[in-house]
Amino acid sequence: MTDQAYNFAYLDEQTKRMIRRAILKGLAIPGYQVPFASREMPMPYGWGTGGVQVSAAVMTADDTFKVIDQGADDTTNAVSIRKFFEATAQVATTTKTSDASVIQTRHRIPEEGLTEGQILVYQVPIPEPLRFLEPRESETRKMHSLEEYGLMHVKLYEDISRHGHIATSYAYPVRVEGRYVMDPSPIPKFDNPKLGGCPAIQLFGAGREQRIYALPPYTDVVSLDFEDHPFEASKADHPCGLCGAQDSYLDEVITDDAGARMFVCSDTDYCTGRQAAGHKGKDAA
């Protein structure tokens, strides 16, 4: 890419202004999906174009940018997006959660608590939490405006009556400030408790579906549940094999042909930080 041929952070200023307006509207109405005129980006729809547009719209030259995919900084698409902004915005990048001012993520919230002044940008594939219950956008928008969320509760109830549990393990729906039901993007439900009361700004961008939504700092976010079946954040019942962490979300890695497996932190920054501080798991060298 000829870096000088494009504006700072790729998008032209008009487009950024349009996106910022959508972000501000989203912040003003937490959990509400704001339609925006998503642009074609030089990476495919479904690969983070919504997140990239939101990041491009909020990024300044002084920002430090971090990108994670599945919690890791070095997964291929995270590398690709980081390089995109290195090339088009020349911003500093980091893998350290606490050093970043803008973090773009796919499918995870970092383990380390976020702080005021940070922005967490989520890549969202299907922003509509009701989509798999009602495929029509015209219908789901109506359901949101009428606060008609009975269908969602029926779905969760049916799960319990059939399986004894709510059979949703990621992209677990939440209710924002007692009003909008929101899809938190496909994060594992383990991450859901980090959505509420978060000191950082959380922005959600869905490029293909042309929607932006937001959680301002310290927003009240509740995972949907029932009194007798309270929400439970779950993860693999193991410590991390490398750093020994008991409190982090784990990936399961198959280590040999016989199917032996170990569990490691999905958040690579968290795991390496702990290892550097001397923590050791049972599989560490």
Binding site: E40, A72, V79, T268
Partner: protein
């Protein structure tokens, strides 16, 4: 001993290098030039321009070269480039009545003012492989030429309209919405639907049109007229206060004429479907006109029989191949976090199911 995988960055660079090598292929074979693609793969270029929504044969040819002939990838390259271009304004509506036609046929009248003009069509070729082309071919003999009268060629539907046999389509000066600048919202008016169809995937549009022919919301369509040719594009320049010609583009226009026995609100008459696409792209233009007609069921007071093509929301949200292919192919990206949480859930459900079975067996 497990070491977490690093090196995504190097893997990407190496993959790109390999891709570049594969794109070029055997270097003993001369490289294709962009001009060769533009001239000799013109219909591919046209499709890329149409679905890329950018009229530039050279860029479309470059995109085809870069994408190794994957046309959807080429369309994507064009779209991603197009969206970075500044927008100076809108042209005045092009007048297809003034088209310099290379091809103009009507299936509804044997002869008509302006005549039937086959033009460069595959229609009556026998689909036999021409092995002469495989040898180093010589340029074909020039096709016979004749003088044309020039001047405007009237639209077939105008003749029908004079008799009141076809629904009227009065001119409308409302500025159409811009799909590329505003998010698509439902319900979509006809202008917006047509805009979306003009850049819709050819295959998807074709299949939908075909489904209406086979009876899913049947619209018995005739090609009232199909014309292909060049039209001037004019733009009003505010400083000048009048419009000037800024270029010329090739368009394919299809007006289908559809049987209509009348409804509660409309008298028996012929109805219209419309297709307009960049370049010589007649399969797409005809398909578009059938799909357009089928989606007009509501305004014409027809029944919704639940056919896919009548469902504007279904059609418009799934017609864009760049959106579709991106989302489809994103499932190649790592999903191990979601998958892990699903694993945990399935294990838990299986344990519960297993326990229940044991219980039953014990009882």
């Amino acid at each position: 001993m497990y070491v977490s995988v690093k090196g995504g960055e190097r893997a990407i660079e190496n993959a790109h290098a390999w891709l570049a090598e594969e794109r070029r292929g055997d270097t003993d074979v001369p490289e294709l030039s962009v001009a060769q693609i533009r001239e000799q793969m013109a219909l591919a270029v046209n499709r890329v321009m149409a679905e890329g929504s950018l009229y530039d044969p050279d860029l479309a040819a470059l995109a085809i070269k870069q994408s190794r002939g994957d046309l959807i990838e080429a369309i994507f390259l064009i779209r991603a480039y197009r969206t970075t271009l500044p927008r100076f304004g809108c042209s005045t509506p092009v007048d297809t009545g003034r088209m310099a036609c290379d091809r103009r046929i009507s299936a509804t009248f044997k002869d008509l003012p302006g005549g039937q003009l086959l033009g460069p069509t595959f229609d009556y070729t026998h689909r036999l492989l021409d092995f002469k082309l495989a040898a180093d071919g010589q340029a074909p003999d020039p096709a016979p030429k004749r003088e044309t009268t020039g001047g405007p060629v009237p639209h077939v539907t105008d003749f029908l309209n004079k008799e009141g046999l076809i629904e009227d389509a009065p001119p409308d000066d409302t500025a159409p919405p811009d799909l590329t600048r505003e998010p698509l919202e439902m319900p979509a008016e006809r202008a917006l639907r047509l805009q979306a169809l003009a850049r819709a995937d050819e295959g998807f549009t074709l299949s939908l049109a075909y489904s209406t022919q086979r009876g899913y919301a049947r619209t018995h369509a005739f090609v009232g007229e199909l014309r292909i040719g060049t039209v001037p594009v004019e733009m009003e320049i505010p400083e000048l206060g009048f419009s000037i010609e800024i270029g010329e583009i090739t368009l394919t226009e299809c007006e289908s004429v559809n049987q209509f026995t009348g409804s509660k609100t409309e008298p028996p008459q012929f109805t219209r479907g419309y297709g307009l696409v960049f370049g010589q792209t007649e399969r797409k233009a005809i398909s578009m006109s059938l799909v357009d007609r089928a989606m007009r069921w509501e305004e014409l007071g027809e029944d919704n029989v639940g056919a896919p093509v009548q469902d504007a929301e279904f059609v418009l949200y799934h017609a864009d191949n760049i959106q579709a292919t991106g989302f489809l192919e994103h499932i190649k990206l790592p999903h191990y976090v979601d998958f892990q949480s699903e694993l945990e859930l399935v294990r838990k459900l299986r344990r519960a199911a297993g326990a229940a079975e044991m219980q039953e067996a014990a009882e």
